[in-house]
Amino acid sequence: MIKKSLFTWLLIGAAAGLVIITCSHDKHSNEAQQEHEPSLIDKIKTAGKTSPEVEVSVNPYKLGIQTIKIKQGGREFLVPKRIEHLINYPCASCHTVPLSQLALSNTDKKRAHWNIKLKHASADVMNCQTCHAPGNLNVLHSLTGKEISYDESFKNCQQCHSLQFKDWLGGSHGKRLGGWAPPVIKQTCVNCHDPHDPSFKPRWPARYNVLVFPESQRELNEQHRKFAKNEKK
C-alpha cells in the first residue's frame, strides 16, 4: 500500500512541477507578450491619422524622370511628365493647318500616323477628335472642349473610366514608381495602356514552370546534376 500512495504522490508532484515550469517560463517568454499584443487590424487602426515619418525615401531624380504634382480627390502625388517622351512634340511643327483643311487636301492622309489604328471603343462612341483637339493639336481636349495638357492626359480617361480613375487615385489600380516610400510617384494611365489600343494582349507566360511540382525528388536530383555539368563547361 505504501507503494501505491507513493505512486500517487509522484503523479501529483510531476503535475505540479510541470505547472510551475510552464508558469515561470511564461513570465519571461514572448508568448505572454504575444497574447496581449493587439490584433493586426487594431494595430493598423490605432496607427494614427497622419502619415508617419519614415527614414527611407524615393528620389525621382535618381529614377531619371521628371514629375508633376497632382492634387485630386483629397490625395496628392506625383506623375511622370509625358511631353518629354513625345518624339515629334510640339505637334504644331508639322500640323501647320487645322485638321479640317488637312482632310480636304488631296495628299496622302495617312503618311504620318499610318500605324495608329483606334481600337479603344466603338466608332459610335469615339474617334480621334474625342481626345485630340482638332483646332490645337499641341493639346488634348475634354468632352466639353476644355484644353488638357499631354502631361495630364488622365483627365481625358477619367471622363469615361470614372471607376478606374477613383481606384487609381486611391491606389488599387495602377502602379507606383520607385517604391512604397514617400513621395508617391504613380504611373499615369498612358504609361501602361496605349490610349489607341488600351487592352492588355494575351501572350505566353514568361516562363515554363514544369519543375514546380516534380513527380519525384529524383527529377530534381537529375536537374542538379545537369546544371553542375553545364557550369563546369
Binding site: 507503494k3 505512486f7 509522484l10 510531476a14 514572448n30 508568448e31 511540382f213 513527380e215 525528388q217
Partner: protein, 401 residues
C-alpha cells in the same frame, strides 16, 4: 568507480563472446550499420536531395520511423506499470528488459531525428538561449526524449551495479525512478503526438484523437515486440521467463489493440461519413486520390493485419497457443509500424496546402540509412540484454565478491 570499470570490461567480454549464431548476428548487424554510415555520408555530401523527400512531402521514412519508435520506447516502460499493479511478476526482470528496449529505441529515435536534419553540424544551436521552449513542441520533444533516455540509463545501471556486486537493489531507490519513467513515457508519447496534432496546416493530423491513438497503438505494438523479444531470450539464453509473464503481457497487448481498433473505426467514420476537403488525406490513404495510390496497398495490409491480429489475440484459444501468439504479435507489430509510421506521416502532406499531390517513394540511400539505424538499435539491445542477463543470472560478478 572501479566497480563500473569492472562492469564495463566484464560486459565487453561478455558481449564479444558467444556462439557462432551470435557472432553471425552481430557481424551482419555491423555490416548493415556500415552500409548505413556510407549512405549517410552520401547524404551529408550531396544534401537531402538524395532522399525521396521534396518540398511537397518534406518528412519521410526517417520521421515515420522516429514516430513509431517513440511509441516502442514509451510502451516498453509502460509495461512496468501493469507488472507493478499485478504484483505477481518478477518486477526487476520486466524493468530490465523494458528499459533496455527503451534505451535502444530512444537511441534510434534520436538518430532518426539527426539524420533528418539538413544541418546536423548546427544542432548545438539548441543548447543556446535561442532554444524555443516552451513554444515549439519539437523543443519539448528534445527535452522529454533526452530526459527519458537519462532515466532509462540510470535505473538499470543502478540495478545492475547492485546485482554485479551481489547485493539486492533497494526498492526504495529504484521504484520512484521507475514510476517517474512511467509517467515520463506517457509524456514522450503525448508530446510526440502533439508535435503533429498542433499543426492546423495539416488537417489530417489536427485531430484530438491523435494523442490517445498514439498511446493505444504504442501499448499494442511495443509490448508485442517485447513478447517476441522475450520468446527469443527464452530460447537462446539461460534467462528464465515464465509463461505467466508472457500471458500477462499478451493481455495488455490485446486490450490496447482492441482500443486502437475502436479508435481507427471512429476515425474512419469521421472522415468518410461526410467527406470534406479535410478528408482528402484519408481518401488518398485509403482509396487513392486522382490516380495517386502508392500508400493504398500498404494501408490495407495494415488494416487487415491489425484486425486479424486483434482477433487472434482476443480469442483465448489462439492467444494461449504461444506459437500463434508470437505470430499474432509479429503481425500486429508490422501493422502498427505501417499505420503509425508512413501511414501517419506521409498522408499529412498529401495533398499539399494548395491541393497538389506529389507522391513520396524513399530512395535506396534513405532505406540504407534507415536499415543502418535499425541495425544500430538491434545491436545495442543485444549488447544490453546480454550483459544485463549475464549480471542478472549471476554469471557476471564483481571480483571483490
Amino acid at each position: 568507480m572501479s566497480i563500473f570499470k569492472q562492469m564495463i570490461t566484464g560486459g565487453l567480454k561478455e558481449a564479444s563472446s558467444g556462439s557462432r549464431a551470435y557472432h553471425i548476428w552481430m557481424g551482419s548487424l555491423t555490416l548493415i550499420m556500415l552500409i548505413g554510415v556510407f549512405c549517410y555520408y552520401v547524404q551529408l555530401d550531396k544534401g537531402l536531395i538524395v532522399t525521396g523527400m521534396s518540398d511537397r512531402v518534406s518528412w519521410g521514412l526517417y520521421i515515420s520511423n522516429f514516430t513509431f519508435l517513440v511509441g516502442v520506447a514509451a510502451a516498453a516502460v509502460m509495461l512496468v506499470l501493469p507488472a507493478y499493479i499485478f504484483q505477481d511478476m518478477d518486477f526487476s526482470k520486466a524493468v530490465l528488459i523494458g528499459e533496455g528496449l527503451a534505451v535502444s529505441a530512444l537511441v534510434m529515435c534520436l538518430s532518426f531525428v539527426i539524420v533528418d536534419l539538413g544541418g546536423p553540424q548546427d544542432a548545438w544551436h539548441m543548447l543556446t538561449s535561442s532554444f524555443n521552449f516552451p513554444n515549439s513542441m519539437l523543443s519539448w520533444d528534445v527535452i522529454v526524449l533526452n530526459g527519458y533516455l537519462f532515466i532509462n540509463i540510470t535505473i538499470p545501471l543502478y540495478i545492475l551495479a547492485m546485482r554485479f556486486q551481489g547485493k539486492v537493489p533497494d526498492k526504495r531507490i529504484y521504484i520512484p525512478g521507475v514510476m517517474i519513467s512511467v509517467l515520463w513515457a506517457l509524456g514522450i508519447h503525448l508530446v510526440t503526438a502533439f508535435l503533429y496534432q498542433g499543426l492546423p496546416a495539416r488537417p489530417y493530423w489536427n485531430t484530438a484523437l491523435l494523442g490517445p491513438r498514439f498511446l493505444a497503438s504504442a501499448f499494442a505494438g511495443g509490448p508485442a515486440l517485447i513478447i517476441i523479444v522475450l520468446s527469443v531470450i527464452r530460447n537462446y539464453s539461460d534467462y528464465s521467463i515464465e509463461d505467466k509473464t508472457i500471458r500477462k503481457i499478451a493481455l495488455i497487448v490485446t486490450g490496447a489493440a482492441q482500443i486502437n481498433l475502436i479508435m481507427l473505426f471512429s476515425e474512419i467514420f469521421k472522415e468518410f461519413y461526410f467527406p470534406t476537403h479535410h478528408a482528402e488525406s484519408a481518401i488518398y490513404l485509403f482509396f487513392g486520390l486522382k490516380g495517386h495510390n502508392a500508400l493504398v496497398p500498404w494501408l490495407w495490409t495494415s488494416v487487415v493485419l491489425n484486425v486479424l491480429a486483434t482477433l487472434m489475440l482476443s480469442l483465448h484459444r489462439t492467444r494461449n497457443n504461444f506459437r500463434l501468439l508470437y505470430f499474432a504479435c509479429g503481425l500486429l507489430f508490422f501493422a502498427i509500424w505501417i499505420e503509425k509510421g508512413f501511414g501517419l506521416i506521409i498522408p499529412g502532406f498529401i495533398p499539399g496546402p494548395w491541393g497538389k499531390i506529389v507522391e513520396y517513394t524513399p530512395t535506396g540511400i534513405e532505406i540504407g540509412v534507415t536499415l543502418g539505424i535499425w541495425a544500430l538499435g538491434c545491436f545495442l539491445f543485444t549488447v544490453l540484454a546480454r550483459v544485463g542477463i549475464a549480471i542478472e543470472t549471476g554469471r557476471l560478478r564483481s571480483r571483490s565478491t
